[in-house]
Symmetry: C2
Subunit: 382 residues, 2 copies
């Protein structure tokens, strides 16, 4: 590596320069304040933990995404977090261990060994909210509402809410007579929405009706008519109906889309799953779901539902449309008397940006400058 | 590892629970706003970069502190940043590459392989400001002032400013006739302030007066009287006098302490070095210095001076003294009509925290609740 390319960043690893960084900081504050106004308390988990604390059965995807390093103090393996949810679950289950409902939120960078989609960042800035201790559908409704408010607060003009429920696929699989390897083959084919592979994998299912129902699941997406004529998984279908009805009343502008064959997070989700999409962007900009009992590995099983978004993804979606007020600053000479120093401190405390100049050159962000007139400092147009 | 200790965090790796996290978030915002009011623009560098981009000759300390992982895309070595300064230097030199002066600031976590002192965190939250393109002493004065304002804004009651200048030791070493290994031995002994070792190492210096002067350097700390009777390094001594005089006028309450044998960052600092101490705390809470030409490895040598602090260290110093307004919230039933939903949205938009309750149990943070009286929703005391 020569001097000439020492500034290269790895693929999928970005830096944010002043305009983008100011937007991200603005979004971060607005969204954390939003979560605060709903009663969600900020926690700040660390960048690394022992691998066993981070990888708690949330699926092999997250294991493959996690960078590992050796702790020079204990000699044990640590992971750089690829997801903040397990950390917050640990905090709820062990560190806080409070009775009743707890609402927690977070904002922080995570790191991925590889890109989860073609243009995805390997260092997303994750922001999310988690609701523990409430098994009711009202909790899911709250979290979905907060995910939609996140989009509104960020200024995303049009949002599609994608709803699913892992209970539907579970009901079909239940009593299908498949062994683990056969189940995995069906799951893989369904996740890839590959009908030929799915047909092959389903040969192992003896019940022809069941086989047909699983095959149909791959195509079950669209408006609420897909909920009709599902003669199984009544409880899951009822939950989908209730939540979509309530969301339609609360947020009439949001388009609701059902995707019953969607199995993202199937290995740890236990109920409703949801995602927010923006037209023209293939990847979900936020997603979440119910994941009861994830705290069990830390000694306390708890009902849980939550969502998260990525500020870098939001930034890209918003592109030019997010207004950041342009800085208009005052230039001040670096050297001056005590009166100048006091005036500069006053101006800054009053909300002005004052940029010092030691050479007499004025920073291009300044439209005014401090000049001495007859022994007094005045703010004048540049 | 069993379920029972799966929640253990590695030594020196902390999580921040709601009260501490709220304080850190408050500090973060106040300090970034402070830097903004001085014209410093936020940048957000990534958590990882190629090792060659992070380790740019800032000394072996930082190399030993840096965790390394292999990039699965390029096969090359990446480092988890142990310091943000080299990243910001890269941004100034290459990514922004603007003419004239640039002022940048940042806030983010870093990771250390080991603790830099007995109780130090291995995952500090670094906040800092860097001033590029201004070689004048006014730039150092600005950065030192901003470091002191950081302490005031954070609410640190009493601050000691520690001043040094690498030019003093450099002047003594110049022409001492030592080879690299001998120089290193002298440096190590001086850094450890071990007089016997220093005496041994200095045997290699033939000039007796020079030997005596280096030996005396180890004891040269205290008030400004230590600047008297230094018959070498005139320029460095003049800079120390000028800066300490200006700081004393600007911040009469700050105690100034000179430490001429202090060699922290000697390998990359090129002029004034400074640190802020709080009585009763052994480690500096903020530090910085001039480090001209650090951008050279990225293709552009630039005058540079800056400082950084650690929000976790600040939090510890402030302990109970930092006031975070206690949340006083309103409880609202999770289920209700459209009028309830509208009122809740209004209250939240107006700055209230409204916490939904699906079970009827009221969150302990609530001192009021929403109740329906004759068909209208009212806020009442709990």
């Amino acid at each position: 590596m020569t001097t000439h390319d020492r500034w290269l960043l790895p693929d999928g690893i970005e830096e944010l320069l002043p305009v983008a960084a100011a937007k991200v900081e603005q979004l971060r504050r607005q969204l954390l304040d939003l979560y605060g106004s709903w009663g969600y308390q900020l926690v700040i988990p660390p960048l690394v933990e022992f691998t066993e604390s981070l990888l708690i059965g949330l699926g092999s995807d997250i294991e493959l995404l996690t960078f590992r390093v050796t702790d020079q103090i204990s000699g044990r393996s640590m992971g750089i977090r690829a997801d903040i949810t397990p950390q917050v679950a640990r905090i709820d289950a062990h560190s806080l261990a409070q009775e009743g409902v707890s609402r927690l939120c977070y904002a922080g960078e995570v790191l991925h060994t590889r890109q989860t989609s073609l243009l995805a960042s390997r260092s997303p800035i994750k922001l999310g909210a988690e609701l523990y201790g409430d098994p009711s559908l009202q909790a899911d409704l709250e979290v979905i509402s907060l995910m939609l408010e996140t989009m509104t607060t960020a200024g995303v003009p049009r949002v599609i809410l994608d709803l699913g429920h892992v209970g539907i696929y579970r009901a079909l699989l239940h009593g299908s007579g498949l062994d683990e390897a056969q189940e995995q083959a069906v799951f893989d084919a369904l996740q890839r929405k590959s009908l030929p592979d799915l047909g092959d994998a389903l040969q192992a299912v003896s019940n022809q009706q069941r086989r047909q129902q699983i095959l149909e699941l791959a195509g079950m997406h669209g408006d609420e008519t897909v909920l009709q004529n599902i003669p199984y998984a009544d409880a899951a279908v009822a939950e989908l109906r209730e939540v979509s009805g309530a969301i339609a009343r609360r947020y009439p502008a949001v388009e609701i889309y059902f995707d019953l064959g969607e199995l993202r997070g199937y290995h740890y989700h236990t109920g409703l799953v949801f995602a927010a999409y923006v037209p023209g962007h293939g990847q979900a900009v936020a997603n979440g779901g119910r994941y009861d009992d994830v705290g069990q590995v830390f000694g306390r099983a708890r009902p849980a539902t939550g969502f998260n978004t990525d500020l870098k993804a939001l930034l890209e979606i918003l592109a030019g449309s997010l207004a950041v007020p342009e800085t208009v600053a005052i230039s001040a000479p670096a050297q001056g008397d005590a009166a100048l120093w006091e005036l500069v401190a006053e101006l800054r405390a009053g909300g002005e940006v004052v940029i010092s100049s030691s050479s007499g050159e004025i920073d291009p962000r300044c439209d005014r400058q401090l000049r001495s007139r007859e022994g007094k400092w005045k703010v004048e147009k540049c």
